[in-house]
């Protein structure tokens, strides 16, 4: 049990410090670790957990808590939460004290601008991987396409899109 907790803590601590551009950039690595490397769940479970975390209020990183809880109960949830929110928070606290000194330096802008294409590639990867495991058949793929189109063309609240998706799924179009 404690070996699992240690693995969880190590994986999510690394993710914490690599999450440039926020929580959606680390989904591919999180999925690779918990599904492909450690086989703690299958891809469908991972996509479902991502969806549950999106349906809940709060920061968009709550999937880490849910993954930890699924793997090892409350100790797992605590391990992944501490490992994910701890290192980046300590780093933030440390950098806050020196931020005034370098926020206007040219290199700071260059580093930040240089990280943008990486964020774009990582969020696109997250979208591709989550969509591939969530869309088991053409009706689910249609829900994904309709959701994406709605979000891009209207100003509707995302919660309504999630609710509509759940209802459409409940209607069970074409699902086994």
């Amino acid at each position: 049990m404690s070996a699992v907790l240690l693995s969880l803590a190590a994986i999510f601590a690394e993710l914490s410090l690599l999450a440039f551009g926020g929580g959606n950039t680390i989904l591919p690595e999180m999925q690779r670790q918990v599904v492909d490397v450690h086989h703690w769940m299958d891809g469908r479970d991972f996509s479902a957990m991502y969806a549950l975390a999106q349906a809940a209020p709060g920061p968009n990183m709550m999937i880490v808590t849910l993954v930890g809880w699924h793997v090892a109960g409350w100790p797992g949830a605590i391990a992944t939460s501490l490992a994910t929110f701890g290192p980046s928070s300590v780093l933030t606290a440390l950098v806050t004290r020196v931020w005034q000194r370098f926020k206007d330096r040219p290199w700071r802008r260059i580093v930040q601008a240089g990280l943008v294409p990486i964020t774009v590639g990582l969020v696109a990867s997250s979208a591709a991987l989550i969509a591939r495991t969530a869309d088991g058949d053409w009706t689910l793929a249609a829900i994904t396409a309709a959701g994406a189109a709605t979000m891009l063309t209207t100003r509707i609240h995302p919660l309504w899109v999630l609710a509509a998706g759940a209802l459409a799924g409940l209607a069970g179009f074409g699902q086994p």
Binding site: S47, G58, P59, S88, G114, I118, A128, T144, A164, L167
Partner: protein, 191 residues
């Protein structure tokens, strides 16, 4: 003169309890992105920070790894009440969402044998994938027309989504490449 006016408009420094309560509210009400709500609560309602201070702290939080709003809670808590304030703000922010996602997880595991529930969750997951695709498109829009940035984003996509390479070495390589290219183009470009 300006600074006196600005100080008059701001509320006194929040207590540890007020930080916890403020971020607890954000955690409970922030559906689909906490950041716009955070700005309204911190700048307009509670007047803990001026708009300029908020933007500057947010700049710091976007520069560093981790969730922007998570980093923001730590930075604001620390600014007013030190480590105790940072802990109060962070724990306040994630306490309610933690309880709610685990509750949703329990429902998912308890009822995943039921066909209706399974179908509803499958539809929910498909819609969530749609939200993520829309977000990917929005994030990609600012780099359109920048061939070097598009090439690096495409390399990153192939490495992570197609080849399933580990994140750390992939990111270290591509970030070095991307920052180098950005540096060269900024040097050459007009100032």
């Amino acid at each position: 003169m300006d600074s006196i006016a600005a100080r008059d408009e701001l509320a006194p420094a929040p207590t540890v309890g007020a930080l916890f309560g403020g971020f607890l509210t954000l955690g409970l009400t922030g559906f689909g992105g906490v950041l716009p709500l955070a700005r309204r609560l911190i700048v307009e309602d509670r007047r803990w920070l001026s708009a300029a201070e908020f933007t500057e702290l947010l700049g710091l939080c976007q520069f560093l790894p981790g969730g922007n709003i998570i980093n923001l809670s730590v930075a604001i808590g620390l600014r007013f009440r030190g480590v105790a304030g940072a802990l109060a703000a962070l724990i306040g922010l994630i306490a309610a969402p933690t309880a709610i996602v685990i509750l949703l997880g329990l429902v998912y595991e308890r009822f995943s044998g039921d066909a209706h529930v399974r179908h509803a969750f499958a539809g929910l997951a498909a819609a969530a994938a749609g939200l993520l695709i829309a977000m990917a498109v929005r994030i990609a829009l600012p780099i359109r027309g920048n061939a070097a940035a598009i090439a690096i984003a495409a390399l990153c996509f192939v490495g992570i989504a197609v080849l399933r390479l580990p994140l750390l070495p992939t990111m270290a390589t591509l970030a070095a490449l991307s920052i180098g290219v950005t540096w060269l183009t900024t040097r050459r470009g007009p100032r």
